[in-house]
């Protein structure tokens, strides 16, 4: 019985390893390179021609800050991704994946920053300030992902919903009035509006969705979800060798000690064991 369980566990572990490799070496680079491709695509409103906007320098700086934040929040454990213990081929493939993540981050910023003018620098400063401040905050991976989703979502709404609708051609009188007021408030420093077709917003939305999906799929360490920690495996195997009474005693200790830790106490072992577990120990272990 335990032999077949071992074989089953081995097959599962092997399958997990292959799936993990497929995700790290094929799926993630594809997702991130697709973000790189789509993040700079604009569609001209008048001619419907494609416009390709490469990532400007400010987005590269923001991408560096973002990746630093990912490392600090342990979303990426770079020492596991690029390790001397790994084969050179694995290290090269991991490096490429991380490089695609960097450029995808830059293009994600490119997709949500206005093309030019005062508002562009305002949002870029907002991004910079937020990312810089977060370097000194306590973050975990989940919090970071939620924070990034909010950050990009807000910038997306400002660029593709607010500004795009203010300058969309063919708008009604209210829109024209709002656009004129906005232009006056900003003293014309928004910059000559490059009117883009609504398809630009859809492309940017899809690019951002892909980017967030890639971040969710990204494992902190390359083999984090493949192998169980060895100590857990040993403890589980040892538990299976115990008698029924001993198993009851172990479960009692674990549950009692767990509750005691929640209450801020630490119980000595003899106090935790029930009396029958202390006296009877001559039953054969189950196989």
């Amino acid at each position: 019985m335990s032999g077949s369980d071992d074989n089953s566990n081995s097959a599962t572990t092997a399958q997990r390893a292959i799936n993990g490799a497929l995700v790290r070496f094929l799926v993630l680079p594809t997702i991130f390179l697709s973000v790189v491709l789509l993040g700079g695509v604009r569609v001209d409103a008048l001619t419907h021609a494609l416009v390709f906007v490469p990532p400007p320098l400010v987005t590269l700086v923001l991408a560096v800050l973002l990746l630093t934040l990912c490392v600090r929040a342990r979303l990426i454990d770079w020492r596991s991704w690029l390790a001397a213990e790994l084969p050179p081929l694995a290290n090269a493939a991991h490096a490429l994946t991380l490089l695609t993540l960097f450029f995808a981050s830059a293009q994600a910023f490119n997709a949500v920053l206005p093309e030019r003018g005062w508002l562009r620098w305002l949002l870029a400063s907002f991004f910079f300030w937020t990312l810089w401040q977060n370097q000194f905050s306590a973050f975990d991976a989940n919090r970071l992902l939620r924070s990034l989703a909010a950050l990009f979502g807000t910038a997306f709404a400002i660029k593709h919903l607010l500004i795009a609708n203010l300058y969309a051609p063919g708008g009604g009188w209210a829109q024209r009035v709002a656009g004129a007021l906005f232009e006056g408030f900003t003293q014309g420093t928004i910059g000559a509006p490059e009117t883009f077709a609504p398809a630009t917003g859809y492309v940017a939305f899809f690019a951002l969705a892909l980017y967030v999906a890639g971040l969710i799929l990204l494992p902190a360490a390359p083999d984090a979800d493949v192998e169980e920690p060895p100590r857990v495996h040993e403890v589980v195997e040892a538990y299976r060798q115990l008698t029924v009474t001993e198993r009851d005693a172990v479960r009692f200790v674990v549950l009692t000690e767990g509750q005691a830790r929640l209450d801020g106490e630490r119980l000595p072992l003899t106090q935790a064991l029930p009396i029958d577990a202390q006296l009877d120990d001559d039953e054969r272990p189950l196989t």
Partner: protein, 167 residues
């Protein structure tokens, strides 16, 4: 373990190819998907002009419909990769811009650009067009003629200039 190594190798190759495609796309910046396909075929050396459109444009050129001829040649060679087509484009700019008293500088400048493209595309061998209806048969000569037409000199004040003929 061997499978993981194979997957890693495949991943490296795939990532490099996809990244090269993205870089190419941003470098060439096609305005439509059709233009992207045209430029892709030009990149791999499979590009050919539309000969039927070229011949139609040539017919328009003979009938002195220079603007229509240029548009048709632009459709025949959308990627601008054929030296012969660029030469004829330059010649159409020359003939339309030429005047007895003065030349159209804007058209001549566009002609110079087209002649430059023709010279660039025929870098391996000098481009010679064997067309009996033309008096200029090389791109370099055509470019020189166009450049002379845009220059200002005392010769422009010569009244006999009106007797010169278009080539």
């Amino acid at each position: 373990m061997r499978r993981q190594t194979l997957i890693a190798a495949l991943g490296i190759v795939w990532t490099i190819l996809y990244a090269a495609f993205v870089v190419w796309l941003y470098t060439t910046a096609p305005r439509t998907l059709r233009e992207a396909a045209t430029q892709a075929s030009a990149t791999v050396g499979a590009y050919e002009i539309d000969q039927a459109r070229f011949d139609a444009a040539h017919e328009l050129f003979r009938r002195e419909q220079y603007r229509a001829a240029r548009e048709e040649w632009a459709r025949a060679d959308p990627a601008g990769r054929d030296a012969r087509t660029q030469f004829y484009l330059a010649y159409a700019f020359y003939r339309e811009g030429w005047g007895h008293i003065y030349n159209d500088d804007a058209l001549f400048k566009q002609g110079i650009e087209a002649a430059d493209r023709a010279i660039l595309l025929s870098s391996e061998r000098a481009l010679m067009i064997d067309d009996p209806e033309l008096q200029i048969h090389s791109a370099a000569e055509l470019k020189a003629e166009l450049q002379q037409g845009t220059e200002r000199s005392l010769r422009d004040l010569n009244p006999l200039k009106v007797l010169r003929e278009r080539k």
